[in-house]
């Protein structure tokens, strides 16, 4: 049997959807028995949510005031102290997991396997390299396997579980050298970019933050999240958390609408798993058209208002 420990991501008492995707990855490992670990100031509410995920055998929560914020240096020693009975320790390949899991791996004496996109066996996984231009199959030879799960590659585990919940108090020294100051989350009622089924995304062509507003309006009409290319973020047209790509968010919506985005490889890495890609670009040679399911060579400043109008009429 493979005992898999999945580290839950959560904020404000809510389980992040990335956890349900990690559970699906964990269940793809042969003979998996999945435990979810919640580290929090008060973990019971999040643990209760994790317990409803199908395929989870057990949820453990570790409550400590120091766990109020997900500081890698604080969480890692507690995870390592609890890792003893497990063969695999997995976290999501979100900024939470990418920060935390290597810190755990070092404590367990191994390298992390980053961005697992497929499970090929107990110790064999596929992962992307070179911005997704090559896929490597990696065999992990260490005792313990520590990895991050590329959330765009896995469906969320459905509800329907009823796992046992227990608490644990690991004996681990908790450092005080790292202190949380603040987090400025772009408050928004829009769907979350990483889990939205539709995404409206804009590039450098938008030209200003004011112009970017037309994409927000369209997104709201569609119930979509908003994304951006790095060029748009660097130019200050959109906040950093909207960046899609190799070094931003990797997403897999049903529909991705790209306006004025050229389609650099670093951007395409982030949208490869989208079901349908629509590209609107003035330049018929733009590389985005090579991956688009539907392409339209046109001025976005004409197309976006027309879309709004047609949707309004529709």
């Amino acid at each position: 049997m493979n005992r898999i420990l999945v580290i839950a991501e959560h904020a404000g008492g809510r389980l992040n959807p990335s956890t349900a995707k990690c559970v699906t990855c964990a269940r793809a490992i042969p003979q998996a028995e999945v435990t979810v670990l919640v580290l929090a100031a008060d973990g019971a509410p999040v643990a209760a949510q994790a317990a409803t995920l199908a395929g989870v055998a057990r949820v453990v929560h570790t409550d400590n005031p120091a766990n109020a914020q997900p500081l890698a240096a604080v969480l890692a020693p507690q995870i390592a102290a609890l890792a003893g009975p497990y063969s695999h320790v997995l976290g999501p390949s979100t900024t939470f997991g990418r920060d935390l899991m290597p810190r755990v791996a070092a404590l367990l004496g191994t390298s992390q396997i980053s961005d697992i996109m497929a499970v090929d066996g107990d110790r064999r996984f596929k992962r992307p390299v070179y911005a997704g231009n090559a896929i490597v199959t990696v065999e992990v030879t260490s005792d313990k396997i520590v990895g991050t799960v590329r959330v765009a590659s896995f469906e969320a585990a459905p509800a329907g579980g009823n796992a046992a919940v227990e608490s644990a108090a690991p004996a681990a020294g908790i450092p005080t050298h790292t202190r949380f100051v603040s987090v400025s989350a772009g408050k928004s009622d829009r769907p979350d970019l990483q889990t939205a089924s539709k995404v409206v995304s804009g590039g450098r062509a938008l030209g200003s933050a004011e112009n970017f507003e037309i994409l927000y309006r369209l997104a709201d009409r569609l119930g979509a999240a908003v994304g951006a290319s790095r060029a748009a973020v660097d130019a200050g047209y959109a906040p950093n958390e909207l960046q899609v790509g190799q070094t931003g968010k990797i997403i897999s919506p049903e529909l991705y609408l790209a306006f004025g985005i050229s389609g650099a490889i670093q951007h395409l890495t982030g949208i490869k798993d989208a079901r349908t890609i629509v590209a609107v670009n003035k330049d018929s040679e733009a590389p985005i058209f090579e991956v688009a399911d539907i392409g339209l060579v046109a001025d976005l400043f004409q197309v976006v208002p027309e879309l709004e109008r047609l949707l309004g009429a529709g």
């Binding site: 810190r103 950093n240 399911d293």
Partner: protein, 249 residues
């Protein structure tokens, strides 16, 4: 002496579209342009600015890799680093081995700050900084977009999925640089000449005594699945029709 240690990796230039070798052993690297990992340039730029503000005296760059890595170290010296350390090896060292080698360099150099790029754009592992911080038992701030140094602490803002997070950490600490930390300077020709005279020390992994045992074995390298080219429409109306047909509008 207040030192900053910066990691520099030789990688395939970001403009190159790499191809997988047909035999599945790796990607074709012959004659391909190599560069300093772009995130490491950002890391180095930050270190140089700290020194230029008088908050550090020396910037040391280090690379673990084949003999050719010296080209990237020379570029780093031309950007303004004071000194370079080259840990020469022809084997591919996995992240934990690299972090262990850096820990030995840290013990030798005693930096108050270590700055890495947040990921290398070749194997996209994104873990060396965190591994080092963990082994060294010091703070880490990953994905940094703003760094303010105090006497014994640093206030660092990081790019997280939710937005921006700010942390205070005690020094020494490990920082990993995100894209928006700064914009690296261009290297000028006279600096390239000057860089040739700057000290570059070559070490072996054996000199350092770092354990670089392997835990991740590459079984196969394959191409990604390709998306098929779709259809072109001529008007917004046609676009809406096509999306309605797919049930997406």
């Amino acid at each position: 002496m207040k030192k900053i240690l910066v990691g520099v990796k030789r990688v395939v230039d970001y403009n190159v579209r790499v191809r997988v070798k047909p035999d599945g052993t790796g990607v074709a690297l012959d004659g391909v342009k190599m560069s300093v990992n772009p995130f490491d340039e950002i890391a180095l730029e930050e270190a140089l600015r700290i020194r230029e503000r008088g908050q550090a005296n020396e910037v040391v760059v280090a690379s673990i890799g084949p003999a050719d890595s010296q080209q990237q170290l020379r570029t780093a010296l031309a950007m303004g680093a004071d000194r370079a350390l080259h840990v020469q090896t022809d084997s591919t060292i996995e992240p934990l081995g690299v972090a262990r080698a850096f820990l030995k360099l840290v013990e030798r150099e005693n930096p108050f700050l270590v700055i890495f790029g947040k990921q290398a754009i070749d194997d996209d592992n994104g873990q060396t900084g965190q591994l080092l911080a963990s082994l060294w038992d010091r703070p880490q701030v990953t994905f940094a977009s703003r760094l303010e140094l105090g006497e014994a602490t640093a206030r660092v803002t990081r790019e997280v999925d939710a937005g921006l997070e700010t942390l205070d950490v005690d020094l020494p600490a490990v920082i990993t640089a995100d894209l928006r930390l700064n914009e690296p300077r261009y290297v000028k020709l006279p600096d390239i000449m000057k860089a040739k005279k700057k000290p570059l020390e070559t070490l072996s992994l054996a000199d350092l005594g770092a354990d670089t045992r392997e835990h991740l074995r590459i079984v196969r390298v394959g191409p990604p699945s390709q998306r098929t080219k779709g259809v072109m429409v001529k008007t917004t109306e046609e676009l809406v029709e096509a999306l309605k047909k797919k049930g997406l509008f």
